[in-house]
């Protein structure tokens, strides 16, 4: 239980505080933003696939199915867009630290079973979507310079806000 708040704090520093972001680098560039958004989606797909292997709960399974389907659809749109814009997504410190904390979270989830797994997975989904939404709102959308990329991020934000609410409904039902 110690790792969790630590990881959450690290992620929060990364995302919730634009100041940290600004210190690490100036505004992220479009190729970096595209990479961060795509990576954030991939992370959630991987978490959902783990949940589909482990859960016995129908609500959790349905939710995980939705995450795979939606994030794959959004990421496909993102790939189509970067191809069209001839932008090459560029790996960066934010993407790297997202991947690192996701790896930690997955390792932790992999050890859990049954109701404990379901609760940890869904709670993390609520927290994760909150963080990503915060980053989209405060950093990624305002920094995007291409109008089409900005528009896709704005749609992505609505999708992820929907997921956050959906995850909250599932979390409430698990209690």
């Amino acid at each position: 239980m110690l790792i969790r708040p630590l990881a959450a704090t690290a992620a929060l520093c990364l995302f919730a505080a634009p100041a940290t972001f600004a210190q690490a680098a100036e505004k992220p560039t479009d190729p970096q933003i595209a990479h961060i958004a795509y990576t954030a989606g991939e992370i959630d797909i991987e978490a959902a696939k783990l949940a589909l292997k482990k859960t016995q709960n129908k609500d959790v399974r349905d939710f995980a199915d939705d995450m795979v389907r939606d994030h794959e659809a959004v990421n496909k749109q993102a790939l189509d867009l970067v191809k069209k814009l001839k932008v090459k997504p560029e790996d960066n410190a934010t993407s790297k630290s997202l991947v690192a904390s996701a790896k930690e979270e997955r390792a932790k989830l992999a050890k859990l079973k049954g109701a404990a797994f379901d609760k940890a997975y869904i709670d993390n989904e609520v927290a994760y979507h909150k963080q990503v939404n915060g980053a989209l709102e405060t950093v990624l959308i305002p920094s995007a310079s291409n109008a089409e990329l900005k528009s896709l991020l704005e749609t992505g934000l609505k999708v992820f806000q929907g997921h956050e609410q959906h995850a909250e409904h599932v979390a409430a039902a698990l209690k």
Binding site: D66, R69, D70, A73, V74, K76, Q77, E154, T155, K158, V159, Q161, G162, H163, Q165, H166, H169
Partner: protein
């Protein structure tokens, strides 16, 4: 009563019991996770058709009522059975909300 007069009476009865207006189909478009128009007015017997322009699957769901699946780039519909105000949402993205105000025939 002759068969002819009987037919006449039946036709009259039918005409009287028919609703004054024909049932309509009302279209609600979904684009970028927004039901548009968000609120529609309809009558019992009308059909609501949702046209999903998103690359994402959505639903039009009334809690404890109907649940219409709206796959990406597809549409779905429901026939309104009773009067009243119906609030619906998308099960996958509960931040998407819409309302149908259904009047009696």
């Amino acid at each position: 009563m002759s068969p002819k007069r009987l037919f006449g009476a039946a036709a009259l009865l039918l005409a009287v019991s028919m609703p004054p207006a024909q049932a309509e189909t009302i279209t609600v478009t979904i684009d970028k996770l927004v039901f548009s128009p968000a609120t529609v007015s309809a009558r019992v017997g009308d059909t609501i058709e949702w046209v999903n322009k998103d690359a994402l699957a959505h639903t039009a769901t009334v809690k404890g009522g109907w649940d219409v699946m709206l796959p990406p780039k597809k549409s779905g519909s429901v026939v309104l059975k009773q009067a009243g105000a119906l609030d619906y949402y998308c099960r996958f993205h509960p931040n998407m909300k819409g309302r149908i105000i259904v009047a009696a025939k």
